[in-house]
């Protein structure tokens, strides 16, 4: 879709949920800034819109700019040539606390490992929606794994665990101090 057409279409679709539509760097991509609280709704609209048909979360990137964390979702379509960058910002309460953002894994399952990575390395916790949690607990009622808490391994899942559990701090934050280098 054309750049201008795309931004018009997005403005029409998302109405007041869009904060800003800016070009992404020098490229032809568009960055759509939204608020963190409207993420799930926007994701649903973007995925289900027949013209955009953004059914592929190609990349999920978190970057820290001073105190602010920018979470970018690089969305693409398998069938059409559409692509855009969905972006939201979040500020943690202090530099050691986690950030909570809704998980979009129910719309784009391929995003789950990237979310887990960001959780490990950046301390951005992607919360699952209530419906998903319920479904999960239904499925694993008998499994000991679910009783042991969230850390245990569940069947039928892929879990990238880039850090040992209980690792202090989030290594990719700018204020991270390496162990033994205080």
């Amino acid at each position: 879709m054309e750049k201008t057409l795309l931004s018009q279409h997005l403005n029409r679709l998302l109405k007041d949920k869009v904060l800003e539509i800016v070009p992404f760097g020098r490229s032809s991509l568009m960055t759509v800034w939204i608020e963190a609280k409207s993420l799930l709704e926007v994701s649903r609209i973007l995925k289900e819109d027949p013209e955009l048909c953004l059914d592929w979360l190609e990349n999920l990137s978190v970057a820290q700019l001073d105190q602010m964390f920018a979470v970018s979702y690089f969305l693409r379509s398998y069938r059409k040539q559409n692509s855009l960058v969905l972006r939201l910002s979040a500020v943690p309460q202090n530099m050691k606390s986690k950030i909570k953002i809704d998980s979009i894994a129910s719309f784009w399952p391929m995003g789950r490992p990237m979310e887990l990575e960001a959780e490990d390395l950046f301390g951005v916790h992607f919360e699952k929606t209530k419906a998903e949690k319920l479904e999960k607990s239904e499925k694993q009622k008998d499994d000991r794994a679910s009783r042991d808490g969230g850390d245990a391994i569940r069947e039928g899942e892929f879990q990238p665990k880039l850090l040992p559990s209980g690792w202090g701090g989030y290594p990719l934050r700018k204020n991270y101090v390496f162990p033994g280098r205080q």
Binding site: R26, G156, Y176
Partner: protein
């Protein structure tokens, strides 16, 4: 070591042992219909689990190091006889902190670090980083340098697919083809050494060009090797591709359906083997393949099931053939001129901005998101690696296959754990 099904081994590969503690709790597995209650645990023999009271399903934990795994990861299998009924995958054992290291080091050392993103396909790590930085800094790459980059990436693609063949052949226990293929891959590594001075960590690409011009005789040797590989491909077909035992082990095994590919975001040859035409070389003109005439091979389902192991292997073999065609055309169109805009400076500064670049690596779509804040080192370098998607599909792909097929399925997915863990 790792084949003991329950006892927990090497805690030393991670700095902290408590990570493993939590895994210990889930060690025994009870089938859903088991009603015996708490006395089950009392009888459970932790040292010799198979001597515990018999249940229908066995739990087997493979990894982090095992012959059937192509890389270090843990597979938790639930076996019903010899058939795998459920499985979960855990990675992270090769986490090198590459992204953090890139943030801490100056721009100039981005390229040698990017070599280590995926040591097997070093050029693509360099290429994706260089393209992103060039986009941020609006650097123009001379045409000659572009062609040299393309030659290097196609050579790497051939070498990567050859090593894929090696891994697949090893997993089915065919020794001879392994030696033939490695011998031919060696010739390509020799070419890398001739051009860049190194066989794996090339460190050859620079922001705005390449480090050096092609050496004398390099182009001729590339053509020579194209001819050689063409002959060899026929030999591989004779000895391995259509071998009866091999086809019996790969036809119709571990079929990747299209909806699973779209759900997991699988790209590259794995997706193309299932009939999805998804190749950045065709769709993205920025990569510079627009002047070259080649085809994108997709799976044809000769075995009766589109997207099985044999299709994934055949697509790669055909890609080698196409890469040879591309190389031949590249050697014809290589123009005279500069190979680098300006020489490397010690403390180079890249203006503020961000870029997301994509290349078609042998494993699939490799992306790189670089954020620069105008200082001497990048603010954030993030890689989108194809292996993550391939890993994501394993828990759904493996159930239903036999454990003898496990190494074959894993090898056929082309997992580069170095780039998944980074």
């Amino acid at each position: 070591m790792s084949e003991t099904p329950t006892t927990e081994h090497s805690t030393s590969d991670h700095p902290e042992g408590n990570r493993k503690e939590s895994r210990h709790n889930t060690e025994d597995y009870r089938p859903k219909d088991y009603q015996a209650g708490a006395d089950y645990l009392a009888e459970y023999n932790a040292e010799f689990p198979l001597m515990s009271p018999k249940t229908d399903l066995t739990r087997w934990k493979i990894g982090p190091f095992h012959a059937s795994l192509p890389a270090s990861m843990i597979l938790n299998l639930v076996l019903d006889g010899e058939v795998i009924s459920r499985c979960s995958v855990e990675t992270g054992f090769l986490h090198k902190g590459l992204e953090k290291a890139l943030e801490l080091s100056p721009w100039s050392s981005l390229v040698p670090y990017a070599d280590h993103l995926d040591p097997e396909n070093a050029v693509f790590g360099e290429l994706v980083v260089c393209t992103a930085v060039e986009e941020i800094a609006a650097l123009e790459v001379p045409l000659r340098a572009r062609v040299i980059r393309l030659i290097l990436s196609e050579l790497t693609r051939i070498s990567a697919h050859l090593s894929y063949t090696v891994r697949l052949a090893r997993s089915v226990g065919s020794d001879t083809i392994v030696h033939y293929v490695l011998r031919d891959r060696e010739r390509i590594l020799d070419l890398f050494e001739l051009l860049t001075g190194s066989r794996f960590s090339l460190n050859f690409l620079r922001f705005g060009g390449v480090k050096a011009d092609v050496t004398e005789g390099f182009i001729e040797r590339v053509l020579e090797i194209c001819e050689l590989i063409k002959i060899r491909l026929k030999e591989y077909n004779d000895i391995f591709t259509y071998n009866f035992s091999f086809t019996r082990r790969t036809y119709g095994v571990a079929v990747l359906p299209v909806d699973m590919i779209q759900k997991c975001g699988i790209t590259g040859p794995n997706a193309r083997a299932s009939g999805i035409i998804l190749d950045l070389r065709k769709s993205s003109p920025a990569l510079g393949y627009d002047r070259i005439d080649f085809q994108v091979p997709i799976g044809r389902g000769e075995s009766g099931a589109l997207g099985d192991i044999h299709d994934r292997y055949l697509v790669r073999l055909r890609e080698i053939g196409q890469s040879i065609e591309i190389l031949k055309q590249l050697t014809e169109i290589i123009p005279p001129g500069d190979f680098l805009e300006k020489k490397l400076e010690n403390d180079i500064k890249i203006p503020t901005g961000e870029a997301y670049s994509q290349v078609e690596s042998p494993r699939g779509l490799l992306g790189c998101h670089i954020v620069s804040d105008g200082s001497g080192s990048p603010n954030r370098v993030q890689f989108r690696t194809p292996t993550i998607s391939n890993l994501l599909c394993i828990p759904e792909l493996i159930p239903g296959t036999r454990i003898e097929d496990l190494p074959v399925v894993l090898a056929s997915l082309d997992l580069g754990i170095a780039e998944a863990d980074r």
